[in-house]
């Protein structure tokens, strides 16, 4: 465990932020939370808002659980973790409805489904229960970013190739591709293509870093 005199952004703490982006990515390496990665990657905007919501929920729940870690009875720890996550998700949902109504309408059910996102439970159980609040906070931000970056990459390709737009802006129409016979790929907006896109990302990542390949 970190000593009290450790600087806030020591190299060990920074690793908590950067590792999940690459070699410990929750989606491509740990293969957690892919259910939501399939559902909301058709368009870029919901993917971005989802990333931010997950970031808030994960960072705050990580801190709360980490602060309480010595007083949480191990026998009911999973229930306590769930209660904290569910409370946070409901709060985020309520705030979105009150202050960002349009965004909350876009995300609709998926905000509620953050509760079931395995990454969050996974980080609480694996990290927050055994570490101090500050590293837990960084770990939360790091993992949510790792989750988000994959979401955004997948959403980028699905929106571009499936609908020909980015953030709703018709980019392909401007390039004049349609005039020479190009057509949007309808398959890209169907759920299976999210899996295939994630598969391709995993393939590229493992081809570059052979230590990730399982025996």
């Amino acid at each position: 465990m970190a000593k009290d005199s450790e600087p806030l952004f020591s190299s060990k703490n920074l690793k908590l932020l950067t590792d999940p982006l690459n070699n410990k990515n929750p989606i491509t390496v740990q293969v957690l939370g892919i259910c939501s990665a399939l559902a909301i990657t058709v368009k870029l905007k919901p993917a971005i808002v989802m990333t931010l919501s997950v970031m808030v929920v994960l960072a705050v729940s990580n801190v709360v659980i980490s602060a309480l870690r010595k007083s949480i009875p191990p026998r009911i720890r999973i229930i306590v973790q769930l209660v904290v996550i569910a409370t946070m998700v409901i709060l985020v949902d309520q705030f979105l409805k009150a202050f960002a109504y349009d965004v909350s309408k876009q995300l609709s059910v998926f905000v509620g489904l953050i509760i079931t996102n395995c990454i969050i439970m996974g980080r609480l159980e694996a990290f927050a229960m055994a570490n101090k609040p500050w590293p837990a906070f960084l770990d939360g931000i790091g993992n949510a970013s790792g989750y988000g970056i994959i979401l955004i990459i997948v959403a980028f390709f699905r929106e571009l190739l499936g609908s020909g737009t980015l953030l709703g802006y018709p980019v392909l129409e401007k390039t004049g591709l349609y005039n020479i016979g190009y057509e949007n790929n309808g398959l890209m907006i169907l759920p299976p293509m999210a899996l295939i896109t994630i598969g391709i990302i995993i393939w590229i990542q493992r081809a570059k870093n052979r230590s990730l390949i399982e025996e």
């Binding site: 559902a39 909301i40 058709v42 368009k43 919901p46 007083s71 949480i72 009875p73 191990p74 026998r75 009911i76 229930i79 306590v80 209660v83 409370t87 409901i90 709060l91 309520q94 705030f95 409805k97 009150a98 202050f99 109504y101 349009d102 309408k105 876009q106 609709s108 059910v109 699905r158 929106e159 499936g162 609908s163 309808g186 907006i189 169907l190």
Partner: protein, 235 residues
């Protein structure tokens, strides 16, 4: 980790639940007026959108007061009901009642050029949750002037496309009666509407079940209004 007694576990859970309950009910109570206001503005925005007036969250209320001149409540036999505020009627509740007990709101919009439009609300079921919207008619009570749809839980990029302007524009100029004046609603056709057909629009590819839900919604809600429409046409 040390062992915790059962009494501690009970105390811990009790305190946790009280804190969470206070937090959540506090947030719900504090935020409720803001949320209700948002829902109301959204409703006004949709009503305006059905007569093809784009509004933002800021100017929706002023524009609503400017363009929506009159509201009315009718029943499924086409009689007027007095003494209630049409705007406050919850269509979801009304549609779950038997046809004869439904209270059906009608809104009248007057455009800048003086044209009168009749707006009726729609409420139905999509694939994952409720879908709803407004459809407006010209003074002949037959031809669609504009339509707007929205949803709670449809899949983004698929069923959720019913909320896009491009999909909704298809409805403009369609009619809900056939040549003999019989009510046939508007079909949302998979594989594409017959070009030039006055009663068909294209369904959404990949959003078949939402499209079907939309068609059923149009059929169900509009059929309640047909007796009143017929009365108005005879006038």
């Amino acid at each position: 980790m040390r062992d915790f007694s059962n009494a501690y576990i009970f105390r811990f859970s009790a305190i946790m639940i009280i804190i969470v309950a206070v937090l959540l009910s506090g947030a719900a109570m504090l935020l409720q007026p803001l949320q209700q206001k948002n829902v109301e503005i959204e409703k006004k925005k949709s009503i305006l959108a059905s007569i093809n007036i784009e509004s933002t969250r800021k100017n929706a209320e002023t524009l609503y007061d400017k363009y929506i001149k009159k509201t009315l409540i009718i029943d499924a036999q086409g009689n007027e009901i007095q003494g209630e505020n049409a705007f406050k009627i919850d269509m979801k509740e009304e549609m779950s009642k038997p046809v004869n007990e439904r209270k059906l709101p009608v809104y009248f919009g007057v455009l800048d050029n003086g044209g009168q439009k009749v707006i009726v609300p729609l409420q139905g079921k999509g694939l994952w949750g409720p879908i709803y919207g407004y459809i407006s008619f010209n003074e002949d009570y037959k031809t669609v002037y504009g339509a707007t749809f929205n949803h709670d839980k449809e899949t983004p990029g698929l069923g959720a496309e019913i909320a896009t302007r491009d999909f909704q524009k298809q409805f403009q100029g369609k009619t809900i009666f056939d040549k003999n004046g019989k009510f046939i609603s508007i079909l949302v056709k998979k594989g594409g509407a017959i070009p030039g057909s006055p009663n068909e629009v294209d369904a959404i590819s990949g959003g078949t079940l939402t499209s079907k839900g939309l068609q059923v919604m149009l059929q169900d809600c509009l059929s309640d209004y047909v007796p009143w429409f017929n009365k108005q046409m005879k006038k």
